[in-house]
Amino acid sequence: MKRRKFIKQSAAVGAVVGVGSLGFLSFAQQKDRKHITILHTNDVHSHIEPFGPDHAQYPNKGGVARRYSLISRIREENPNTLLLDAGDIFQGTPYFNFYGGELEFKLMSKMGYDAATIGNHDFDNGIDGLLAQLPHAEFPFLNANYDFSNTILDGQIKPYKVFIRDGIKIGVFGLGIELEGLVGKKLYKETKYLNPIEMAQETVRQLKTEENCELVICLSHLGYKYQQEKISDVKLAGLTKDIDLIIGGHTHTFLPEPTVVPNSEGKNVLVNQVGWAGVELGRIDFFLDAGVNREGQGATISV
């Protein structure tokens, strides 16, 4: 608390004194500036090894051992890093067929994943199969719109988690796609799908007003965008408020750059997704400064 007050005061000084001098302003900013790095994957689908040299689309791309080298390098550069996954960890190579997701979870734990959400394919061995592998995951699974209360997963999945990095409170929550028609009922059993927009609004309200988060990140397996009315990350971004970043999955979309979408209050939200199979790692760096304020209608993002 005291620390925050100090930052606020020094920021105010910085702003006043800094006006006259570019050098001092940048110095003051450097000093007070907080830097949070978000790393993310989605739809890795059990791709533990890289694609082979003959692969038509992604020759010699991907691979967990390389991904970890990259993550370690970025963590050395900035220890205030979160590593997140947007679901569909399971299914796609014999590693899943043979070990049921055990190796995927163990490797994600070794790499220091901070949280993940649940994709439709994570139900491929049923909720029993997912529960059986949870002890291998040393990170939480977050979902705010599946009601597991009548299933064996009851109490295992939290809607959100608040992380503190360099004094910044980062709220991360998860959203999942409608399972009916996509996943066999005997796999997801009594899991209830709740309206993702309503649940997002309620969860974000908690993160903002009760948990006092400075950054809010949604881990979504809804899918990037659809032709139909179906809810997607882009729709979610526009219909909600107070979300800074939506990390998406499901549609295996390789975005060349994050999409900027105005939210319901006209403030910008970033939507990002990095294809599938661990071919890419997404990296978003947030810089936070004291003494400037987004409460006003002001924030615009330009490239």
């Binding site: 702003a15 800094g18 006006v19 570019l22 302003l25 940048s26 090894e49 890289p50 010699n60 791309k61 967990v64 051992a65 390389r66 991904r67 080298s69 990259l70 299914q91 190579t93 014999p94 590693y95 067929n97 043979f98 163990k106 490797l107 070794k110 790499m111 491929d124 061995n125 910044i168 028609g181 066999g184 006092n212 400075e214 950054l215 390789f254 060349p256 750059e257 970033l270 990095v274 661990g278 071919v279 890419e280 790692l281 997404g282 990296r283 978003i284 760096d285 947030f286 810089f287 936070l288 400064d289 004291a290 400037v292 304020n293 987004r294 409460e295 006003g296 002001g298 924030a299 615009t300």
Partner: protein
């Protein structure tokens, strides 16, 4: 007064911006409300966002401890996967032809050949039709050795063979679906010819015309039976039998029983000009 300062502040921020990396989103912040809304402000706010989509290429060295951890798992899988079961003289893909393809026919015929004895033993009845889906052929079949890995590539999912009891009327619905969809969904037991107007020229099941009230035993997978790919006619099934036989295991057994895998495109679903 505050407004003037903020304007300069904005200017410096934008000057700084020009020196930033290319891949930067800058939040130009209007700070004019800062002084008046201190009460609401927590004092820290996002002023800049950088991004990068980093490709995991072979220029990044593999981490030794992770590679070592994967080692024993990989060794075990490779031993199983690399077992050579048969030989394919030519490579096949699901896009080779229209309406029916060699690889699709192979899959449907494999289900007919291997699942039917299981079904007959359990029920005393025989499978009339096999229907799988085009999207369920997950990989091509490469020329050369056919291994367990090939079966995992073509069918990575755990779906099982189920046999649905459909009336002749639903079989007609199924045929209409096949014609309207136009994809080369794997079929067996069915002979279908359509003309340029998509009208049916010939429709036979096990070589005979379809009878409205007869029960037909249609083998498919549990995904399609539950309405996957909009195969909604399965919802009208009068009964269903789960054979506890994974499609992938059907393929592994099929490959194991053959020396050479050389299926062909044939007349089972064609268009007559």
């Amino acid at each position: 007064m505050a407004g003037e300062k903020d304007e300069k502040n904005y200017f410096y921020l934008s000057q700084l911006a020009k020196r930033e990396m290319k891949k930067t989103f800058l939040l130009f912040l209007l700070t004019s409300v800062f002084w008046s809304s201190c009460k609401k402000s927590r004092g820290l706010t996002v002023t800049k966002i950088n991004w990068e989509q980093i490709v995991i290429s072979d220029s990044i060295p593999a981490n030794d401890s992770i590679a070592a951890f994967i080692g024993p798992y990989k060794k075990h899988i490779d031993q199983e996967m690399n077992a050579v079961l048969a030989y394919a003289p030519i490579g096949l893909t699901k896009t080779d032809d229209e309406f029916n393809t060699a690889i699709g026919n192979m899959m449907a015929d494999a289900v007919m050949e291997l699942a039917n004895p299981v079904f007959e033993q359990r029920t005393g009845e025989s499978i009339d039709i096999v229907l799988l889906n085009y999207g369920g052929i997950r990989s091509s079949l490469s020329k050369g050795d056919v291994s367990t890995r090939t079966a995992y590539q073509i069918m990575p999912f755990e779906n099982e063979v189920v046999v649905a009891e459909l009336r002749g009327e639903q079989v007609r619905e199924m045929v209409r679906y096949l014609i309207d969809d136009g994809s080369a969904h794997p079929v067996a037991g069915l002979e279908l010819a359509i003309n340029l107007e998509n009208a049916i020229e010939r429709m036979l099941v096990q070589g005979k015309p379809v009878e409205e009230d007869k029960i037909y035993y249609v083998a498919t997978n549990d995904y399609l039976y539950q309405g996957g790919d909009n195969m909604l006619f399965f919802a009208k099934a009068e009964g269903v039998h789960n054979l506890d036989y994974k499609i992938r295991n059907v393929l592994i057994d099929y490959f194991s029983q053959k020396d050479t895998i050389a299926p062909v495109r044939d007349q089972r679903f064609i268009r007559i000009p």
